[in-house]
Symmetry: C2
Subunit: 633 residues, 2 copies
Amino acid sequence: MTDVSDDRQAWRELAQQFRVDSIRVSSAVGSGHPTSSLSAAELMSVLVSKHFRYRVDSPKSPHNDHLLFSKGHASPLYYSILLAIGAVDEEEFQTYRRRGSRLEGHPTPILPWVDVATGSLGQGLPIGVGVALAGKRLDRLPYRVWVLCGDSEMAEGSMWEAFATASYEGLDNLTAIIDVNRLGQTGPTRYEWDLGLYAERLRAFGWHTVEIDGHDVDAVDAAYAEAVATGNKPTAIIARTVKGKGVEWVANENGAHGKPVEDAEKAIAELGGRRDMRITPPAPDESGRRHMFEGGGPLSLPRYEVGQKVATRKAYGEALTALGKARPEIVVLDGEVGNSTYTELFAQAIPERFFQMYIAEQQMVGAAVGLQVRGWRPFAATFAAFLTRAYDFVRMGAVSRVSMSLCGSHAGVSIGEDGPSQMGLEDLAALRAVHGSTVVYPCDANQTAKLLALLADESGITYMRTTRQATPVIYGPDEEFSIGGSRVLRASDDDQVTVVAAGITVPEALAAADRLAQDGLSAQVIDLYSVKPLDSATLVEAVRRTQRVITVEDHWPEGGLGEAVFASLAEAGVPFVGELLAVHIMPGSATPEEELADVGIDSTAITDAVRGLLDRSIDQAGGRRVAATGRAG
Amino acid sequence: MTDVSDDRQAWRELAQQFRVDSIRVSSAVGSGHPTSSLSAAELMSVLVSKHFRYRVDSPKSPHNDHLLFSKGHASPLYYSILLAIGAVDEEEFQTYRRRGSRLEGHPTPILPWVDVATGSLGQGLPIGVGVALAGKRLDRLPYRVWVLCGDSEMAEGSMWEAFATASYEGLDNLTAIIDVNRLGQTGPTRYEWDLGLYAERLRAFGWHTVEIDGHDVDAVDAAYAEAVATGNKPTAIIARTVKGKGVEWVANENGAHGKPVEDAEKAIAELGGRRDMRITPPAPDESGRRHMFEGGGPLSLPRYEVGQKVATRKAYGEALTALGKARPEIVVLDGEVGNSTYTELFAQAIPERFFQMYIAEQQMVGAAVGLQVRGWRPFAATFAAFLTRAYDFVRMGAVSRVSMSLCGSHAGVSIGEDGPSQMGLEDLAALRAVHGSTVVYPCDANQTAKLLALLADESGITYMRTTRQATPVIYGPDEEFSIGGSRVLRASDDDQVTVVAAGITVPEALAAADRLAQDGLSAQVIDLYSVKPLDSATLVEAVRRTQRVITVEDHWPEGGLGEAVFASLAEAGVPFVGELLAVHIMPGSATPEEELADVGIDSTAITDAVRGLLDRSIDQAGGRRVAATGRAG
């Protein structure tokens, strides 16, 4: 290992090494983005040689700086850095993009030096804001966050959410390094090399800016020093670079994006051949101690009386506050709707661990991802409808192996008068379709509190769906629930049908069962509060007996409770006939009760569906006998 | 009707009328956002009296200006305008937020004067950009687009995508009216009344800016005149206003958001009581004619030879170009990945109807929505993975009753080396869970072309999923397909199992069937290219015979092909045992073939699943016999 912390010639050599390594590794596998790597070679060589303070052998140290490749497609460059700092060896380096390799096409945290997965543009910076917020407000350590951004991704709105948030929060520990290489995937970017335009926008957004030639190592070094020296505001280094720099036949050429450099050998020769420099980044300042918040202790969840009417969103806020008091690692974010999601209760009780993200859902989830990089446990909440805004961040969160808890309030048509723009009706589908996710949908306040406490210990992305209006408390405060569990609320040996409900439809299903009982019809009712994972065993046992299932959910018919239940039963091979009650029409404005009735998921609709289904039986010869009241398959 | 086009006192009176009407209508129903309406009363009274050129009796006239309430929660104000211009009468006005009313909590196009649904903040402006683009580049008419924005929504990244796009496109027909009322839902906005900060940012983003007192009708009038007179760039009017203006006990008070004004009667008295002004907005310039593009004629779709290998994404681009030549109303948008989605073929052939939206997927979908407001038929494409970025816009598109066609390329693990950040694995779940959507997933080039032509005539939001790698052409160029159809590719009387596949898994299913046939096992294979709507009749008929179904999809297990099939069969009451093959693990980088094998959806996995399933039978007593190879239910 060489000390290159003040050796200009070494920085230049290291940059050439990064170029050579980026070319040879992408050419070896026949894919990747070498040209996008070549443009940022000096930006990275100077950074890791002198300014990036990091212990390679201790990647999770709280004292380390953080380097995020927001332009994740420049992974050849990133892995060339890992090779140079001794994180990976040449043998592993050569596994790039191959089956089973940790060196994937875009970086992911299966490599311990990678904080988060990137590759969907516009995410690295909002996540970097989260890490920098952790440094300032939670860890209270002097580590810095360096984010390498592409110029193409400056078109993403999420970048500007991040720029606004970072300056507002005074994140002088955050540096955005913008690699302005002029060319996007298909052609020139909007503003090509107009560095002044970027600088003007960023200054207007409250950032300190430095415009440089990104291939001039002295300029790069000075810019980083200026960033470190600048207080109270984040710094953006706007670097004019050449895509494909150093290789004549791809340099600044359109059409060379995302493919290996032609004639790699000649290119490597042009770059002065292979080098084998190994460097050690400067050590971090390890004098401070990570701040830990006081408090902690036994969890004292709120308790609700059976029969009370309490909105699950309110129970969420109350339980979250209790959880926060018991567990100092819990932090909360909201998209400026805290008096709707009830995170305001947490904000009032524990303001130092509450993050107001304003109406910027992508930044909210991005910040949550960044906070958990540093070991904090984020709970982020907004309307379920508006979480769709951050769906790409949630999706990428799964690739990042993130553990965080999301909450979507105001789910379903039962919000009533505000109308469909505010109704989360696709959230179960969207959040179920996230790898490794947990999805729960409580029906009452005590269940909400208990499930929330369980979610705090789940790994992966968890999602809780809450309801706007007050619903009756049906469970006592000492009842226990489990992730992957369910609760059979009505059962008898005479059950003719199983009704599976969750959340707002549970009281409707119970009312339907009561009404049917008056007519001598017996319906089993299951509260399937854990939508993912699903309590398949209980469902199978129930449907073995009744052979008829009605699912009822305040959600579009696709991808929600009903399809999950039917797929589970189908895989179990239980013969049954099912009916899926869900929101089949576009709702308008009405009272909650009217909405539930109009879309056909209230107790009357359930009662009618049960009666209709009882007229049908499974056609053992195959196919069903369609009763007069049945919908065509 | 009164001519108030130059009557300052009338503008002030009209503003007071809007306030009174906003209060009385929200108080009558007991919900809504009167205070957010009161702040913009003068902004709107001056606009509709003098600058908004509009024929109320002809809301779809191509000559009309457009008014979008990006702050859709100010619907009381919007409906007060409709009342004043005679679009709705007092009786209908009083139905606000009530069951069956066209006057929903947030405006939707079930009212003919509403272009698009708003209520999810940050969408009106990007959509307005689309309408303004239509005016400039397609219709070539002098109509103007006025967008009333809130200050809270300035935190949304999508707003900044719109600001960047509008100035880059020189949209001097677009005016953003920013109602800076200082207070958000839960408290002060980030920048409160710092008009200069907004102005600096907007100027840096290439906009002309005017800062005014939003309650001074002369200033408002002058600002609009300045906007109209400003060429080559869009204008933002940044108006300092008071939330709840005119009612002492809510004016500029926190905590008054989103609820009726207390003591409405007193408030109305304070505002000078009810008025009953009826006005006519100025007439539009109707001298020009809407531009129509030349061309049109019979559709000549590309034709591919059976046995050729062609990527469906390439066939998409080729068919789209053919479609564009045949139909002059078709326009195409892309998120700067046109050489991946192959929209570049359309861009090369028909540049005047191609819109490069750069890496800004929200703006891309928002612009598509705006273009279709003016009757153009948008096709918007990016990677399936990155469409998740615009999911809120797609969701709201359904509320807007939009007709547009989306395409997601590079779906599934079969993209190979680029890794999971680039793999669309949740798109079927997300797009199925859109009200009224159509979802198709072709397996070969001819099918792609034929389905694309059909999608151009579908109403609602359509989605086509395409594949990165070349796949064999299995259908001849004269085969016909249908929305809601499927194709049985292998069938015999001896079939023991039904395999349902789509897209990339169709050739895998066929290979599996061939291999099984060598062992004397007979598998029926269905190409379920229409994922929504689903060909339930064919599925039912098939499974009646085989009683065993395997679904196989390059997608997460949730919300995709398998769940759709199983739910459909369950509702039909067909007894069966199913197995859902899908992406059950987080993929990494590998070759496409390795990826399909590793996640268990290739021909080998299908073959194994068939063998396993043949060892099982439906347990008529209920429950399944778990074979040694079976996964636990």
